[in-house]
C-alpha cells in the first residue's frame, strides 16, 4: 500500500538514531544547558563585580561611565586623586547629608561593607583582590576585599597624583569663609558663565546657581567639591582651569574656595540679591 510505504520511509531506523546520537553527544560532553557556577543567580550581597554594582547602584545618577550623569562625576581625575578612601566609604555608607545622595549602608544595608570597599578601591584606582569562601551549593560567601598590586586592575585606570596647589576637599576647621570676599572671587572665577550674581548669564550658558531651590538641594560640602573639581564632563573648569576666566586668573586657594562657599551659602539663606 502506497501510504504504508511512505510511513516506513519516514521511520527508517537511521533518522531517530542519528538524533539520539546527537543527544548523547551533547549530554556526554559539555552541554550548553549545564548550569555553570559562573552564571549562578547571586543574592544582592553576593554580587562582587564592579560592573554590576556600579551599574545597578550608581550609574542612574552618576552616569554610565562615571561621568555625564545628573549627579557629579565619580570618574573625575581630581576627585579620584583627592578624596580619601575612608571619606569615600563614609559617603557611600551614609550618603551626603544635605544632598540627594542616599545612604547605601546602615540598616538594612543596601551594600555590604565588602561591596563598599570594592567601590572605594575602584574609584580610588587601587588594584585589589576579592577573597571569599566558596561552597558548590550555596555559592560564594564571607567576602573580603584587600589591596593587591597584582590584583584586579581598576576599571577607570589608576589615579594621577593630587596637584600640590589643589585645595583639600574637606575644609580644615580653621577656615571660615567670608561671603563678602567670596563675591570678589565669584566675579573673577564664576561670573563670566554664571552671571554677576549667579543669575545665569548668557542663554547658552550653564544656567543660574543663585536660586533657592538649587541651593537647598546642595550642601556646602558638595558645593566645595564642585568648585574644586569643576565638572569637566560638562565644561565647568576646576579650581585652576582657565576656561572662561581672565588671563591673569590664579588657581583658587583653599581660602578662595571657602569664601565662594560662604557666598553661595549666604544666597541660600537670604537670596542672591541681598548684600553679602
Amino acid at each position: 500500500m502506497s501510504h504504508g510505504q511512505r510511513v516506513s520511509h519516514c521511520c527508517r531506523p537511521g533518522t531517530p538514531l542519528w538524533l539520539l546520537a546527537a543527544a548523547l553527544f551533547f549530554t556526554g560532553c559539555e552541554p550548553p544547558g549545564r548550569p555553570n557556577q559562573a552564571d549562578r543567580p547571586l543574592r544582592p550581597d553576593q554580587v562582587m563585580s564592579f560592573d554590576r554594582l556600579y551599574g545597578t547602584r550608581c550609574a542612574g545618577c552618576h552616569g554610565a561611565e562615571g561621568n555625564l550623569g545628573a549627579a557629579p562625576p565619580l570618574n573625575d581625575p581630581l576627585f579620584r586623586a583627592a578624596v580619601g578612601e575612608e571619606e569615600l566609604a563614609e559617603i557611600i555608607r551614609s550618603g551626603r547629608p544635605g544632598t540627594l545622595m542616599p545612604r547605601f549602608g546602615g540598616e538594612p544595608p543596601v551594600l555590604t561593607d565588602a561591596q563598599i570597599k570594592l567601590l572605594v578601591f575602584e574609584i580610588k584606582g587601587v588594584p585589589y583582590r576579592v577573597r571569599s569562601q566558596f561552597d558548590e551549593i550555596t555559592g560564594p560567601s564571607d567576602f573580603s576585599v584587600e589591596v593587591a598590586a597584582d590584583g584586579q586592575p581598576p576599571q577607570w585606570g589608576t589615579v594621577s597624583k593630587r596637584p600640590d596647589d589643589m585645595p583639600s576637599l574637606t575644609p580644615s576647621s580653621a577656615e571660615s569663609g567670608d561671603a563678602k570676599r567670596g563675591l570678589q572671587v565669584f566675579a573673577q572665577a564664576c561670573a563670566k558663565c554664571h552671571g554677576e550674581r549667579g543669575e545665569g548669564g548668557k542663554d547658552d550658558g550653564p544656567g543660574a546657581i543663585n536660586n533657592q531651590a538649587f541651593l537647598a538641594l546642595i550642601s556646602d560640602q558638595a558645593l566645595r567639591r564642585l568648585i574644586i573639581t569643576g565638572r569637566p564632563d560638562l565644561g565647568m573648569p576646576d579650581y585652576a582651569g582657565k576656561t572662561g576666566r581672565p588671563d591673569d586668573f590664579k588657581p583658587l586657594t583653599a581660602a578662595d574656595v571657602a569664601d565662594l562657599v560662604a557666598l553661595l551659602a549666604s544666597w541660600r539663606e537670604t537670596g542672591a540679591n541681598a548684600q553679602p
Partner: protein, 505 residues
C-alpha cells in the same frame, strides 16, 4: 529449557489472559484512513502519554534527592544543579517534558475539537480529557511551587489571595491550601503531596478511563465533508468503517511510536541546550531584586489580571475559570451531531483562531509585562547624556530628584526605564509647570495609576524636578501652555467660547 519456559508462559497467560484479552485490545481495528496521511493527526494523544511517562520517570528520580522542607528544598535543587552528576539534566528533562506535555495536550485537544472527534459517541472521552487538561495545569502550578524560589513564593502568595476571595469559605480554603494562614513550613509539604501523590494519582485514574473510552468507543474516523454524525445511524456507519479497518497494532502504533520518539528526542535535546529552569534566588520575600513570573501556561491569566480594572478581579479569579471550564465541558453536549470536517464548521475554526490569538497576545503581554515597575531603573539606568548636557544646575538637581524618587521605575527617558507610566522624554511639550506640579503632588486624578508624591517631595525638590521636566522638549519645540491661562504661542482665531480666549494680544 524452552519447554519449561513455554509452560510458564502458558500458565501466566491462562491466569492473566494476555492472548485472550490484551492482545485483541492491542489489535483492535481502527479506521483504514489512519494509515493514510490523515493518520498523522492522531499522534498527539499518544505523545502526551509518552511525555507523561517521561515525567513519571524523571519525577521519581527527582524525588529521590529533593527534600520537601522549606529549609532544605532550595539547597537540594542547587545540589542537583551543581554537584550531582546529571542532576541538572534530570531537572531540565522534567521541566521541558512537562512543558512538552502541556503543548501536546493542547494540540491534541485542538485537533479533537477541530475535527469534531468529540461528537457522538465520544462525549465522555472529551469530558475526561478536559479534566486531564486541568490535572496537567495543576501539575504545572504545583511543580513550580516545588522549585522553591521567588517565583514559587509569589506564585503561592497570588494563589493564596485568589483562593481567599472565595465568599464565605475564603480563609478556611487558604488554610487548607497553605497549611496555615500564611506561607509557612507546612506549605511546601502540601504542594509536594499534591504534585507527587494527589494530582498524579487522579491523572492516572482519569487517564485509564480516557484510554478505556478510546478503546471502547473506537478511534474516530477522519472527517469527510458532508458526512453528518447522527446518533441514530453513526454506530452502524462506524461498524462499517471498522469492518474495513486495519489493526491498531501496525501502522497506527508505529506512527504513534515514531512521533513520540521524535518528541522525546526533541525534549531531550532542548533540555540539554536550555538546562534546568532555575532555581532563581532563594524564596526570600524581602529580596527586592526578585522579579517573579508565573509559569508560561499561566502568563495569559497573569496578564489578564494585571490589565483588568480592580473591580473586575474577583470576576476573573472566581467566575471566569468556572465559565471557561463549563464551556469546555459542554462542547460535546452543545454539538454532538452534524458535520465534523473543519471546512464545514466555520464557528469552530473561528473559535480556535480567536482563543489562540487571545491567549497568544495575553501571553506576550505577560512576558513583557510593561505594567510592572522596573525596580532598579532609578539607580541603574543613567539619565540620557543629551538631557544632562542641556540642563542647568537646577535641572541637574531635578534629574537627580527624578532618579532618587524612583520616578524612573515607571517612567522611561528615551525609551529606557519602566513602562508603566508614559515615557517623559518630551513631557515639556505636553504639560505646563503648574500641571506637572499638580500631577506629581496629587497623582492621577481619581485614584489612577500614579501615586501622589506630594508628601515625599519637598518644595525645593519639586521646583527642581518640575524645572527638569519642563526642559524635556525636542529642540525648537515650545513649552506646553494652558489655553485657559495664557495666550497661545501660535496664532489662534479670536476665541468665541467663553474660556478659551487664546489669541495673540
Amino acid at each position: 529449557m524452552f519447554a519449561w519456559l513455554r509452560t510458564a508462559a502458558r500458565w501466566l497467560d491462562h491466569r492473566i489472559g494476555i492472548s485472550t484479552d490484551i492482545v485483541p485490545v492491542m489489535k483492535h481495528p481502527v479506521p483504514r484512513q489512519l494509515e493514510g496521511p490523515m493518520g498523522w493527526w492522531y499522534v498527539f494523544g499518544s505523545a502526551s502519554l509518552t511525555l507523561f511517562l517521561v515525567q513519571i520517570l524523571t519525577g521519581i528520580l527527582l524525588a529521590l534527592v529533593y527534600v520537601p522542607s522549606a529549609d532544605e528544598a532550595y539547597e537540594t535543587l542547587l545540589y542537583m544543579n551543581y554537584v550531582q552528576p546529571l542532576g541538572w539534566y534530570i531537572r531540565a528533562l522534567h521541566y521541558y517534558a512537562g512543558s512538552g506535555m502541556m503543548v501536546m495536550v493542547l494540540v491534541h485537544m485542538t485537533q479533537v475539537f477541530l475535527q469534531g472527534a468529540y461528537k457522538y459517541p465520544r462525549e465522555l472521552t472529551w469530558v475526561v480529557g478536559v479534566f486531564l487538561l486541568l490535572c496537567t495545569l495543576g501539575m504545572f502550578f504545583t511543580g513550580q511551587i516545588l522549585r522553591w524560589d521567588p517565583d514559587a513564593y509569589w506564585g503561592l502568595a497570588v494563589g493564596g489571595s485568589m483562593v481567599g476571595r472565595v465568599p464565605g469559605a475564603g480563609p478556611e480554603l487558604v488554610s487548607i491550601m497553605l497549611g496555615g494562614p500564611i506561607i509557612g513550613a507546612d506549605t511546601l509539604s502540601r504542594f509536594f503531596a499534591l504534585h507527587v501523590f494527589i494530582i498524579p494519582g487522579l491523572l492516572i485514574l482519569l487517564l485509564s478511563l480516557h484510554l478505556w473510552l478510546v478503546v471502547k468507543q473506537g478511534v474516530s474516523e477522519p472527517p469527510v465533508p458532508g458526512q453528518q454524525v447522527d446518533p441514530q445511524t453513526y454506530d452502524a456507519h462506524y461498524e462499517g468503517e471498522l469492518r474495513r479497518g486495519v489493526p491498531f497494532w501496525g501502522e497506527a502504533l508505529l506512527r504513534d511510536a515514531f512521533f513520540s520518539a521524535v518528541v522525546v528526542i526533541a525534549v531531550a535535546l532542548f533540555a540539554a541546550y536550555m538546562g534546568p529552569k532555575g532555581p532563581d534566588l532563594p524564596p526570600d520575600p524581602t529580596l527586592q531584586g526578585a522579579n517573579p513570573r508565573p509559569e508560561w501556561p499561566f502568563l495569559w491569566l497573569f496578564a489578564l489580571l494585571s490589565l483588568s480594572p480592580p473591580p473586575a478581579e474577583t470576576f476573573i479569579i472566581l467566575v471566569l475559570p468556572v465559565i471557561l471550564i463549563l464551556g469546555l465541558l459542554l462542547v460535546p453536549f452543545v454539538s454532538n451531531r452534524g458535520e465534523r470536517a473543519p471546512s464545514r464548521r466555520p464557528v469552530a475554526v473561528l473559535s480556535v483562531i480567536v482563543i489562540y490569538t487571545t491567549l497568544g497576545v495575553l501571553t506576550y503581554e505577560g512576558i513583557t509585562s510593561p505594567w510592572s515597575p522596573h525596580m532598579t531603573a532609578w539607580s541603574g539606568d543613567p539619565v540620557p547624556v543629551s538631557m544632562v548636557k542641556q540642563s542647568t544646575p537646577l535641572q541637574l538637581q531635578g534629574a537627580v530628584v527624578f532618579q532618587s524618587k524612583n520616578c524612573r521605575n515607571c517612567h522611561a527617558l528615551d525609551g529606557v526605564g519602566g513602562r508603566r507610566g508614559p515615557d517623559l522624554s518630551t513631557v515639556g511639550t505636553r504639560l505646563t509647570r503648574d500641571q506637572l506640579i499638580d500631577q506629581v503632588s496629587n497623582g492621577t486624578p481619581g485614584g489612577g495609576y500614579m501615586p501622589a508624591y506630594g508628601k515625599q517631595v519637598n518644595p525645593a525638590e519639586m521646583t527642581a524636578l518640575v524645572d527638569f521636566l519642563v526642559s524635556l522638549r525636542p529642540p525648537g519645540h515650545p513649552p506646553a501652555y494652558n489655553p485657559a491661562e495664557q495666550p497661545s504661542p501660535r496664532s489662534v482665531e479670536p476665541g468665541t467660547d467663553g474660556e478659551a480666549t487664546a489669541n495673540r494680544p
